[in-house]
Structures are given as structure tokens and as C-alpha cells.
Symmetry: D2
Subunit: 344 residues, 4 copies
Amino acid sequence: MNLVNVAVVGASGYSGQELLRLLVRHPGVELVCVTSRQYAGRTIGEVYPRFEGRKFARLKFTGSDAAAVVASGARFAFLALPHGLAHEYAAPLLDAGLRVIDLSADFRLKDPAVYEDFYGVAHPAPQLLSRSVYGLPELYRDHIRTASLIASPGCYPTSILLPLIPLMRQRLIDPKSIVAASLSGVSGAGRKTEVDYLFCECNEDARAYGIPKHRHLSEIEQELTTVAGEPVVISFAPHLIPLNRGMATTIHANLGPGVGIRDIAGALTEAWKSEPFVRLKGETGSADIKNVAHTNFIDIAWRHDPRTGRVVLMSAIDNLVKGASGQAVQSFNILGGWAETVAL
Amino acid sequence: MNLVNVAVVGASGYSGQELLRLLVRHPGVELVCVTSRQYAGRTIGEVYPRFEGRKFARLKFTGSDAAAVVASGARFAFLALPHGLAHEYAAPLLDAGLRVIDLSADFRLKDPAVYEDFYGVAHPAPQLLSRSVYGLPELYRDHIRTASLIASPGCYPTSILLPLIPLMRQRLIDPKSIVAASLSGVSGAGRKTEVDYLFCECNEDARAYGIPKHRHLSEIEQELTTVAGEPVVISFAPHLIPLNRGMATTIHANLGPGVGIRDIAGALTEAWKSEPFVRLKGETGSADIKNVAHTNFIDIAWRHDPRTGRVVLMSAIDNLVKGASGQAVQSFNILGGWAETVAL
Amino acid sequence: MNLVNVAVVGASGYSGQELLRLLVRHPGVELVCVTSRQYAGRTIGEVYPRFEGRKFARLKFTGSDAAAVVASGARFAFLALPHGLAHEYAAPLLDAGLRVIDLSADFRLKDPAVYEDFYGVAHPAPQLLSRSVYGLPELYRDHIRTASLIASPGCYPTSILLPLIPLMRQRLIDPKSIVAASLSGVSGAGRKTEVDYLFCECNEDARAYGIPKHRHLSEIEQELTTVAGEPVVISFAPHLIPLNRGMATTIHANLGPGVGIRDIAGALTEAWKSEPFVRLKGETGSADIKNVAHTNFIDIAWRHDPRTGRVVLMSAIDNLVKGASGQAVQSFNILGGWAETVAL
Amino acid sequence: MNLVNVAVVGASGYSGQELLRLLVRHPGVELVCVTSRQYAGRTIGEVYPRFEGRKFARLKFTGSDAAAVVASGARFAFLALPHGLAHEYAAPLLDAGLRVIDLSADFRLKDPAVYEDFYGVAHPAPQLLSRSVYGLPELYRDHIRTASLIASPGCYPTSILLPLIPLMRQRLIDPKSIVAASLSGVSGAGRKTEVDYLFCECNEDARAYGIPKHRHLSEIEQELTTVAGEPVVISFAPHLIPLNRGMATTIHANLGPGVGIRDIAGALTEAWKSEPFVRLKGETGSADIKNVAHTNFIDIAWRHDPRTGRVVLMSAIDNLVKGASGQAVQSFNILGGWAETVAL
């Protein structure tokens, strides 16, 4: 297999580490550059002892400088930066002809006004929004193939969109009735040294947060609106639960008039039956985090509640894989012409 | 303080243990009888080493026999049995003049037909249903005071009813629009030796289950219906999360026409402001399990979502305390004339 | 019961919180002052929502100023400060006639040279070392009763000294052969916002650390040396394990010539049989953290290994209770003339 | 790559599952038979939903019958059975010409008398003991290559032997002085439905067990004795800690006369420097479970304690990988002529 040169910008967080884990396994990748302000000058193996003895363990982190990334000869760059910083790299890297896969939320919204509404600041590089493709392969595979800038979606949108999109497309549910609750492992909050994420603050605890207007609602609603052809606004309740990785989402929605559970099953099957990473668990199966942990799968199960006229959709993903780095690698495989499941 | 003789029937599960922990601290209780088929002949301290050195540690478990309970001289009996067995003890104990606090679901429903619908078998002692009082002190304090049979509610109903009741009473929300998601610690499943509850099956896992018709929906809807004065049917999604004890519940409901967040705050405050175990955390506070763990408190927070017109209610309890044994002791305090907070 | 005025200096860490939890339950305590640089001006209930609705919840934190503590009228002061700061408070508080219970390691060593050897700096207030009493009630109850400065021992020393002291006293084991391994819950590391103590760094992880010369070895060896009447140096391996609270310690030592397991059992029984917080579990029992969690007990079990000629001692405590705040309250009870078990 | 037919006998426990996970990734393996009494007739994907969508997911479990295994055409068979059952399969499979890799302890001891001493029953097939090779590749790679029966060691022996063997070989430590403490994740106890392994019994708990004569001591001492050329008896304290997978071991031993830490480092480096799965972390590194989780690595660190004259060795492995299934696959790779790291 021909090797392509790849850079990872900002590899010091949990999704950065997971990205390295996957790229180590990728037979087509030559990792030529990893950047980290904090760890510049030290090798991957020194910073993350879990990688010692693995491929690329001796590669040194460089400071976070777009010119250095370009100079490394990388043709693809993953950006695994905190929200709000990606544009500083994306613009010069794109100008230099690299193809960029951004794991942050910075390029996921099409409308700068929506960005400002949810993020509280003007978008720093609105001109890039029109170039970017929302990197959910199940929805935008063909656009991804030829894109130069991928805005790879995170865990909440992925776990909510994949169950809902087929139902919205066929207008099987009432868009106004959607209520989603998600349970996220603590790695979803990143590797921040804040009291809230200390072991003793999270262990034996669980709580809802970010209600009612979590930032990622903006992209969820953008994509649902596109599919529905009408403005969609939903309720979303994220929760933090005490596990390292994984996300379970449960969604309630009113069925449209005359819609039955067979229509639901049919729509999901038709939409996702050929997808390599979507597993449909049906009306009796369940969506358990442990079955998707450390994989790029999303498991989707559903139930009909004839008492309320609602459908209940359940999904499970690994927030660091299908909800972050695995999804980014899936897009990378599409971009680079590899089989979509390589390294996943 | 005068001592009263108390029996605990079926003290071998997690709520039984928690009950013992609380009764040990109760200055008015003389524990005269604990029963357990499995542990008959052994002392509390032998079976549960955590109680060694504590009051009552040398009391021996007797076999599970109602006559023995009566013979022990107990005037109050707690029943901490698996669902479906309580009636075998409740009837003879009531006949012998004891006051009975049952922690199971057996006497919580008023209508035997609803019981049969949700539990799949005919109620074994329907005549007792009319005698029982639903043991939620915040709702039925006055009835509890003079009752002989208390049906003490469990964790799901408690965590859902206390936030919703004040809103239903004042018709602030649309009863048809209620969607509740609850996250339960594993002790909620009891001390069952099943693969599903092994450490390695629960740790680093989370999942929804029992959707769409969990048994405890029946009592939740019964109480909401009573308050609303019209039949209420809701959506309910229980989830199992990897912690020992605690429950977090998030409820969405459509606000009625013209209803604002002040009405919500007002209704909750008016209803619960004098309750010793309800803490209202308001529109900015949160409902975290760690703040209620090992206590009898329920924390309730709320948010208005003007985008969807919904109110979001969040509650947190310790499933073994306010969601089981603490609640039972609270009722016991009311029955026995102690201050409601004794031992809690 | 007469109330005495009590202050807690530095109440913002995990042992500070646990101290508050215990003092809230103490019928003889009027909490008149809590200090915290970080939280000055806010109430206990605001900073720690778990205390809302409890006694003292509305008491405000004051800045960390010894004069303010004196002015509060406190007659007893607990110091729950990071190591190295206690002397700034102890000296003026003692001068003002308060009795001081320090939870840090600052006054536990008798020899300033040993302090400097293990802590790397000269002791800041060596004159206080001779005034302080090592606050292990099982060893120094009579000294504690009349002391003005208590140096309350932490979790590692407590879990190692209580099993070993009786054996050393009777010269049943070879002092040179002692090897102790301890497993500590993460709260033992304090409430530090460092990457190492983030949930995702501790969960699903365990590791030895601080080998071979952990700071607390100094006080362990000091006390063993005192009992043995000859210099004792031991091996000690602390480990961090993924739970909030608790410590399990396993100690190996060579039995002296002719010593049998009955001698071991005899020495432990004779030494601790009347202690309210020591539970001897014998040759078949075990020392499980879950049996001591949230209590002031230490459980001690032992085994004879005829193959190696060693005795194996196992102990379990709650690191925040018998290993910190519970032990301090036990000393406080002795100082103040309450029953030793009050609030514990 | 040529495919070889492989069978897994008894694939329903945790090491069986992990074995399947690794074999799915192995490019040289055609899985032709999996057996399980409990799951006969159901597919791997049905029983373990995590494997759905993966290679071999549709293979059905057959009943546990040696003849069926032979009939499947398998040339290699892994046995992942509870202790004591392996001989029922090993004998007929060997007779039929298969090469057998047993993950249990059944064929690890050379001396049937030692087996009876530690296991309490006579060995059921002593004639097989002389045919088996102890499957620790770092020790017996050449024997493994041509063996027909591999007795693959488990987690405790692996984590203790690899740090100790080089020091024993060069007589750097006093064999009589060895004290080992190991911390094991709960999966090490297997997938048993016993109260002791329920989530709520293990979570927030830790305890020593199996002291002083854990069964696996027998094979540890056998191997140490072989290397030392004299009988070696050690102290060993296993502990259960609340995580799914992983083992951390800390070993103390007295250094021989004149031996320094450079000798220790030298011996370990010389012995293991070319091993693909041994990572030497030196005198400043640490042995953390999280760095080896889900990998076949063993990390080994060490310290000198001049105060006691001891060396302290620390190791970390994933108990299900290097401590079970990964190690078995490593031997399989050697047997089959693949690169030793394939699938690992």
C-alpha cells in the first residue's frame, strides 16, 4: 500500500490520543508531524507511554505552527484542537494544498449567524464554512470524497442524527416533538484540569448539564432541518456519567398519523443497511455502550410505545471513536481512497 | 425516648441493608426481629460485616415466617422483599395489629386491573390495596400518620413525581407531553446474581432498558392522574449507569399557554418550601447525585427552553435512601410520632 | 449537652468536607468559623451543595486568618490544610489558648532532622514538635486527653500502625522483614486539579507510586521505633486505585523464632479488644474496604503462612474517616470529654 | 497469507471473548469452530453483540464435544475452559493431531504432587504434564515452536515471573525474601454469577484474598525454582480492585551482597531488550495499567531502596491480554510461524 504523509495538529487531548492509536494501525499512513504546544520536543512515546514500542512512538511533537506542518510534507492534516482554534491552521494548510479533517465544531455550521448565536462570538473565518463538508460519512459520503475541508462531527450529533435522519427524511415523526437525552463518558469533556472532572467529582456521580441550549444543538438542528426541509428545533439533555468512554442516547418523538413501527424499521433499514458501521438492533435489541466501546460502530435500537404514540430510538457509540477520531479516520479513508473500514 | 419494637422482613438485599443502617441510628427503635430465608440462624454482623460493632449486630436472622415476626413483639414491620411476596406477610401482620411499611410495589396501585396490566398476573391480595397509603410523605403525610399499611414508593416514582406534581396540580404543563429519562445506579436492580449485574458487565457500560412500559410507570401515572384529575400517560426511559447508588432524572414537558418559568418556580416553591427533604436548586442550580448520595434529600432544578416552549425538570436522589429505605423511615417517623428527620 | 465553639481552618478539600459532615452530626459542636481563601464570603451550602439544608449550611467561609479564628470565639480548631501551612495557624491559635487538632503531617514527627530528611526542607516551627501529641487514640489516648496540639495521623500510618504495633510490642516479628503494600482511593491525593487525578486518568487504572521513600514512612517508622525500642526501617509501597474512598493495606513480616499464629491473635486481641473502632476479623475474616467505608472502623485480619514463616496482616479503613477526619473527631471527643464514638 | 483452521473451546468467558476479539484481527486465522454448552446453536454475534458485523460473527457455537472440534477440520485449538476441564479436550484433540493451546492452569505444573497439593485433587491426566510446554514466550520460545500442547500462563504468574526471572537467573536477590502483591481487575475472576462479583459488591471496594496459598503460587514457584536451581518459596498477596481489566504487581526482594541497582537494570535489559512485548521503564518510569490496557505489553519499572537493601519491581499488564488471551495468541503465532506480534 502506498503511504501518504499525515499530520496531527494538537494531539494532546483524548481524541488526539485516540487518533494516534488508530493511525498507528493504518497501513497507508506515514505520520510525519504531530504538534503540541505543551509537549513540543518530546516524543509521542515519552508523552504517552502507552504508545512506546509502537510505530511512530519516536516521532517528536513540534510546536503548534502551521508552517511547520506544511514543511513536514504532510498531505493530510487532522486538527484535534479545542474549539475556536482550528481556523488558524485550516486556512494556511488549505492554501498549501493539504486536505484537512477538523475534529472540532468550528466548521460544522453553514450559517455564521447560527454560530454566533450558539457560541457567543462571531465566526473567525466565515469564508471557510462554505468550503467545508459535514463529515458524517453516512450522510455525505460523496461530498467527503472530493472535499478539502472536513468538519467531522462529534459524539452528540452522531448519536442523535443517525437514528433520526431516516425518520425525518420520510416524515415519519413530528419534528416538533423530538426530545433527546444523551449520557456521555467523561472523556467527552476533554482533558481539562478542572475540579469538575477530577476522579472524585465524577465517580459515583451523574448529572444533566448544558440544558437547554448546548452548543452542539446548533449542528444537530442544522442537519435535521436540511433533511426535513423545514426548520427543526429539538430538546436535548446531555448528561455526564462515570465511565471513560461511551455515549448512550435515547430519543422520543411522536409518530406521524398512520405511521407504525414497521415504517420506522423500514426507514432505518433502507437508509443504513449497507453502512459498515451502523448496526441495527431492531425492536428487541438494545444499544449498550459496552458493545461499541473501542469500535467505530453505532448500535441503534427502537421501540414503539402505543400508549403515547411515540417511537423511542436508542443509540450507543464510543464517543472517542465513532464520536470523534474513528469518524475522522473514516472520512480520511474516503478522502484517500482506502476501504472505509481500514484501521477501524 | 421511648423505644418501640421493630421488625425487618427480608433484610438481605440492598434496601434491606440500608434500612438496617438507618434503624441502627434511630434512637427510638428496638430492632427485635430480622428475617431472611437465606441467612436464618446467623447474626446481622456475620452476614454484613459492616454492621459489626454496631447496635443490633448480634441479632440473629430468623426464617421468613410471619408468625415469628408477630411473636417477636414487633409493633412496626418493614417489608423489604422482592415484588410479589409482601402480601404473605402484610395480611397476617396487619391482622395481628402491626403497622406495616412495605418497600415493594405490591400495594402501591389502587386498581387491581392496572396491576395485572403492568405485572402480568392478578394481584394476590386486592383487598389490601384499599387499606394501603402511598407512602410519599410530601403528598400523603396526613394519611400516612394514621395508616396501618404504607406502600412506600421506590426511586423512579419518587424522582419523577416530586418535580412534576406541583406543575400538574396547577395545570402548568401539558400532561400529554411528558417525557422522563432516569439514570439509575446498579443497586436499583437489587442484589441479583445475574450476569447482567456483574461488575464487568456494568462497569464502563450504560444502557436504556425496560422501554416503553416499565412496571413503575403504573404508579407514576396513577399519582399524576390523581393530581391532574384526568388520565395521564407519559413516556419513561430508565437507564442503568455504572455507580452503586443514586438516580438522576430529567423530564421534559410542554408549558401550557401563557405559562412562564416564574410560574414553574412558584409552583415548586409553594408546594415544597417547607419540606425537610426537598431542596429546590432553581433555574441555575443543578441536580447532582453526589450531593444527595447517602442522604434522604431530593434536589430539584429546572430550566425554561424558550426555543421549544418546554420546561426541563431535573432531580437527583439516592435510590437507596429517598428512593427506598430513607423514604420508608421517613414514613415510619410520621407513623410513630417522631420528628420526620430522625435518623435521616 | 453543652455546646463548644469550634473552627475549621481550610475546609475546602476532601478531608475538610468530611470533617464538616461529621461535625454537623456532633451534638456538642457549635461551628463558629470555617476558613478558606478560595471560598471566603460564600456559605458552606453554596460551596458544597451537599450540606444545604443541614446545620451550619449558612455559615460563611472567612479568609484564612488566624486572628479571625481567635475572634470567632472558637475554643477548638481543626486544621485541614495542605502540608507545610499548619504552623502559621497552630502557633497563634495555641497562644490564644485554643486546642488545635491538625490533620496534616506537620507536627507528627518528633525529630526535626527526620522531617528535613523526608520533606526536603527544614521544619518551620520545630518548637511545636515537642508540644504535639501523635493523635492515634489507640496508642496515645491518655496524652491526647490533656494535649493542646494534636497531630492527627493520616491513612497510611493508621492502616499500617494499628496492625503492627501489638506485634512489635511483644517482639513477635522481625522488624527488618516488614513489607507493607497499601491501596488508596483517589481522595487520598486531595482535591488537586492535576492531570493525574482526572477521572479518565484514574478510572480503569492502578499504579504504585512514591516508592521507596514516601513521606509518611517517616512517621510510621518513628512510631514503630518507639514501640520496638530499636530503629525500625520498613518497605512501603503505596498504590492508587480507582475508588473515591478507602484504603486496604497488606503487610508481610517474618515471625520471630517459636512464634505462632496464636501469639499473633493473642497480641492483637489483648491490645485492641476494648477499642471501639478496631474490629479484629481473625484468621478467616477479611479486610474489605466496603465494610468500613463511611465509618471510623479499622478492620484487621491476619494469616499465617507456614511455607514462608511469615504472618500476613490485612487492614481496611476509610481514608477520609479513620484515615483523616474521623480520627480527628475521635481525638476531639477525647479532648472535649465526650464519649469517643459521638458523631462517628 | 495462508489461512489455518482454528477452534476455540469454551468461548463464553472473558478470556474466551478476548480471544475471539484477537482472532478476528488475525489475518491467518479461519475460525471454524467455537464451542459452548450454554450457547450451542446461537451465533457469536447473537451471544456477544459486540462482534456483530465482524468476521466470524455468524459462526454458531456448537456443544462442547471434542469430536465436533476434530470434525471441524481445526488444526489448532484454544481451550478457554474453567480449571479442571481442559484434559477432557486436550487428550482427544492431541490424539487427532491438533496443536492445543490451553489457557487454564491444568497443564502448567510438571509435578502431579504439587498439583494435588495446591488444587486438592489428583491431576486427572498426569501423562499430559510431560508433553506440555509452559507458554511464556519470553522463557520458552524455542520449546513452544515445536510443542503440541501449550500451557499458557495466566495473569499472576506473568506479572510476577517476567520481572523476577532475570534477577533470579543472575542470583541478584535472595530467593527467600521475595514478597509480591498483585492488584487484579475483576475480569480476572471470570464471568461467574456469584454475589462477590456483582457490580455493587466490587465497585468502591478492594480487598486482599487467597492468602497465603493462592493456587497460582504453585506455577510461579515452579518456574522460579527452575531458574534458581534451588527450591524457591515466596509470599504472594492477590487483591481485587474495581476495574474491568488490568493487573499491577509490586515485588520486594532483598538484594544479594554487593548487588546494586545497575546490576538489576543490566539483568532486566539483557534478558528482555529484544522482546517485542516487554517494555522496561527503568528506575524513574512507572508501571501503569492504563498504558498496557488492551495491549499485549508488560511494563516493568524498578527502584532501589538503600534504606532496606531491597529492590522493588513493578509490573503492569492487561490481565485478559498478556495475562491470558494475548499471550495465547503470541504462542499461537510462534507455533504457526507468523510474526509474533500479528493481531497483537
